[in-house]
Assembly symmetry: C2
Homo-oligomer: 137 residues x 2
DNA sequence: CCTCTAGTTTACGTTAACGTCAACTTTGAT
DNA sequence: ATCAAAGTTGACGTTAACGTAAACTAGAGG
């Protein structure tokens, strides 16, 4: 079994965040590491959760959203009505993600092509200035 | 000439934001509408700037970033060293955007496929519960 | 034993991006 | 004229996501 353990500063340096950040995520209920005495000990699963949180951040999700998503991956295997609700939540979340994907893709492509045009205009302006030596008296 | 004008609430309802938000963007130097008396009058160009700001927000840009980008589209046509610096800024920004595009694409696809797997696990768990009636005493 | 390093809790501070009054003024419609 | 709707300027409040500092503890090494 790959029962790897990590200290809080291990994870901090791995993901290039501060220990404060990691404790903050715990405060918000996104992580629940073991304790040896009062020192936190993180498992491989905790590491993955952290990864999910950070990916969520890159996508603009709130910590609350990431918390939701984490619970989808690590459900308390309850009874079947709970499971059915969970499946619905997963499908809804996937819908949202896909819509976001579509929108962001379009936004990014639009922005890139507009930057291209802006650059072109600048280059032309530069060329024009080379020919007419300028009006500066 | 399409010299369309907009009131602040026109734009607010068009983009589904509050007038406070629009005034806030002006406070931060992203908009500079004309005034008729003390009332703000927005042009078509202002409308476009607003659109750029909101797109920036969807992409996770800060207002400062959006301000930068707006100035790339509406440069004060200065002298050539300024123009050259501007071109560099545009290229750098495009680089950032492209990297972000790449990253977000991967993140979103990863997340979707993980949601697919999570759903599958739930469905299987449900099926298992149908067969073995459960252990609940 | 002493000190250094890493860890902990508690608590107040900070920044961005607005929200929410309050207290006016301006203006088109009746 | 008046009255409601829309506009304006302060100014303080709020939320998320941490930063920062103080004061303490526990283990490892010389």
């Amino acid at each position: 079994m790959p029962t790897r353990r990590y200290s809080i500063s291990d994870l901090a340096s791995d993901f290039d965040i501060t220990t404060r950040t990691i404790r903050f995520y715990e405060e918000k209920g996104l992580l629940n590491p073991e304790r040896k005495g009062q020192t936190r000990i993180y498992s491989a699963a905790d590491r993955i959760k952290l990864k999910l949180i950070l990916r969520g951040k890159r996508l603009g999700l709130s910590l609350e959203d990431s918390k939701d998503i984490i619970e989808m991956y690590h459900p308390e295997h309850d009874n079947s009505p709970q499971l059915i609700k969970l499946i619905d939540k997963i499908r809804e979340r996937r819908r949202l993600i896909k819509e976001q994907l579509r929108q962001q893709l379009q936004d990014l492509n639009d922005m890139i092509s507009e930057l291209d045009q802006a650059e072109e205009r600048c280059v032309e302006a530069l060329n024009d200035m080379q020919k007419k030596p300028s009006k500066t008296a």
